[in-house]
Amino acid sequence: MRFKKELDFVHLSRFFYIFSIAITVAGLIFLATMGLNYSVDFKAGSNVDVALSKNITLEQLKPALKDLGISHEPDITLGENRVNIRYDEVLDSNQDEALKAAVTKLDDKASFEINTVDTEMAKELARNAIYSVLISCLGIIIYVSIRFEWRFALAAIVALVHDAFIVVAIFSIFRLEVDLTFIVAVLTIIGYSINDTIVIFDRIRENLRFGKQKTYEDLKVLVNKSVAQTLMRSLYTAFTVFIAAFFLLVMGGESIKMFSLAMVIGLLFGAYSSIFIASPLWLLLKKRQKQPVKSNPAKA
């Protein structure tokens, strides 16, 4: 299986730039107005996950939780043999026990997972996550600048931030819950995204060695050729990693559902951005270096 037809990725990328910018803007709007749907990991409170041996209805559950002496109404999400109860305040150990007792009364085989986080701790987690992203970016810029050149580093970082941001934006738009594993997923996506981009850049760098590219057209052909040469690999790898993440999403444990979902979205965008964002962006940066004066206005 090979692509025999020459595809003009650079040309196509113009449409994808628009697409990416549109999602980014939509994401920014949603983030600014709605923010993210934080789980207890980032917002103090208690999260109770219960595995049940039978289905319980809201009508059964609500009165049972009424007399626990907890002032706020919890958010309750019912699933197949499963229920998630979320409190905005931290449950103390007595309330913990009372809640367990109340649910156990409805189903004596219930099994619980209770997570409680203090506000201060949650803020620290979020802060560390942001530091992690920034420092990762810095590390990548340094490494890629040494191994390649700064233009590759810059283009790779743009693609990487793009991928990470789009996942965050999608989570904001669809009000999906952001927990600690989500942060792990975003960091992993950054790892994959850079991995994917580097492979294509590596090929561009290699092709640069053959012959002299004098004009923008030469470089454009070179980028198209490099992307085409690595395209099968990009697709296969995206496919295999996607398979792993996809099965984690549909079959894996409940507590890594959001992680897997973030991974699936991130992987798809990671593969996409390496081809349509990172490589053309490098070309754009390179063009400025090559022809500072007589750049071709028609191609600008």
Partner: protein
């Protein structure tokens, strides 16, 4: 023939080792609380009195005492670690009465010596004369008195203060409280005690006295603990997560292996072998390094396999490309291995950078995830780069791979040089 032989022997020996050791290794993998049930609490420690210094030693001591307490409650393998300068993480697996354990942990016993304040009814004492931090840390011990009765002796830091109190209370009762509970009958102060040692006597058995001394020692620590984070997972839920996630991993992995073999034929089979070896080595590292497998860890594990596959795909795509350009099989394999090596290294190093940052800044689950990712990438370089390259080169040199078709390359695609 010699090459073929070394190939066969290597593959057979490794397969044998993997088949025989895998069940044992799997049993030895330490599971995290999220997979086997249990609970975890992160405490923030601070001195009892505001403004006091929190020393490394007192934190360590508190952690040890917590561990002792957990052990005393009969829980299995409690894990108590200090984190940073003021945190203690407690992990206990398979607890049935979680509330009791938590209560014992959260409320360190505070020992006070009290006297009756004016207006106190008979038998109650509300004036606190001495508090936990007045006692020498960990100095409570069990002794026997003249009548061979067990008693607990406690040392007081400030001898003069104690002397002053005993002088003032001479002939009066001085009660000893553990939290709000009166210990035994309040003794009457019979002499001015100047050596800074007080003793608690009562009708204790030797075991009872020891337990009390231990409790007092914990209570005498000048650290106050507050829960910052807690997670408790029921055993059933943990098992369910483990089963589901492993099943998901197996299905994903099998599809990946089928894909590799279908796409790359014999080299794909070699790559699959390298992938299985990679997984086996990872499990072995888990056991040897005594890592704890958690749910995010399994996720890292499975996704790492996806990434390891990438190394094989890059190599094999490259070899096919060289072949289509008309190179001979041997030189295609050589050139493909060489050029793909650099690409894979660059790609992996950048991922290691991300993982290292996660490891440095993360806590708990994030740290574990990052560590597994790093180990996995390193193992992947060894198995999917060096080992897979070697396997392929040996087979080609031995003449077992002679046709481009065996690499999944059509003859018609090959360009003449």
């Amino acid at each position: 023939m010699k090459r073929m032989l070394s190939f066969i022997i290597t593959v057979l020996v490794l397969t044998g080792v993997m088949v025989f050791t895998t069940p044992g290794l799997l049993d030895k993998v330490r599971l995290g609380l999220d997979l086997k049930g249990g609970f975890e609490i992160l405490y923030h420690a601070e001195p009892m009195e505001a403004g006091a210094e929190l020393s490394r030693a007192s934190l360590q001591k508190t952690a040890e005492s917590l561990e002792k307490r957990a052990n005393a409650l009969g829980t299995s393998e409690p894990e108590v670690t200090t984190e940073g300068t003021d945190r203690i993480r407690l992990k206990i697996a398979g607890v049935t009465d979680e509330a009791e354990v938590r209560k014992k942990m959260k409320e360190p016993a505070v020992l006070t010596f009290r006297s009756a304040a004016p207006g106190d009814p008979q038998g109650t004492f509300s004036k606190i004369e001495l508090v936990g931090s007045d006692f020498v840390e960990g100095a409570a011990e069990v002794q026997r008195n003249n009548l061979n009765q067990p008693e607990i002796s406690i040392k007081i830091k400030d001898k003069d203060k104690f002397a002053e109190i005993t002088k003032r209370l001479l002939g009066k009762e001085m009660a000893i409280y553990l939290d709000d509970q009166l210990l035994g009958n309040p003794p009457v102060v019979r002499a001015v005690l100047t050596d800074g040692t007080a003793s608690i006597s009562g009708n204790y058995t030797i075991d009872g006295a020891r337990e009390l001394a231990d409790t007092i020692n914990l209570g005498a620590l000048p650290l106050k603990l507050t829960e910052k984070y807690s997670q408790s997972v029921g055993a059933t839920l943990g098992k369910q997560s483990l089963d589901q996630t492993i099943k998901a991993g197996l299905v994903g992995s099998v599809i990946i292996l089928i894909f590799m073999i279908g796409m790359y034929r014999l080299p794909g089979l070699l790559a699959s072998f390298a992938l299985i070896l990679h997984t086996w080595l990872l499990i072995a590292v888990f056991v040897v390094a005594d890592f704890t497998l958690t749910l995010p860890g399994i996720a890292a594990f499975i996704l790492g396999i996806g990434m390891a596959v990438d190394a094989n795909i890059i190599t094999n795509e490259r070899i096919r490309e060289e072949m289509r350009n008309g190179k001979s099989i041997l030189s295609s394999v050589k050139a493909g291995n060489k050029t793909s090596f650099r690409t894979v290294m660059d790609a992996n190093v950048t991922t290691i950078i991300v993982a290292a940052v996660m490891f440095a800044f993360g806590t708990g689950a994030v740290k574990g995830f990052a560590l597994i990712l790093i180990v996995e990438i390193v193992l992947s370089i060894v198995t999917n780069l060096y080992f897979a390259h070697w396997l392929l080169t040996v087979l080609v040199k031995a003449g077992a791979l002679k046709k481009p078709k065996q690499f999944g390359v059509k003859e018609s695609d090959i360009r003449a040089l």
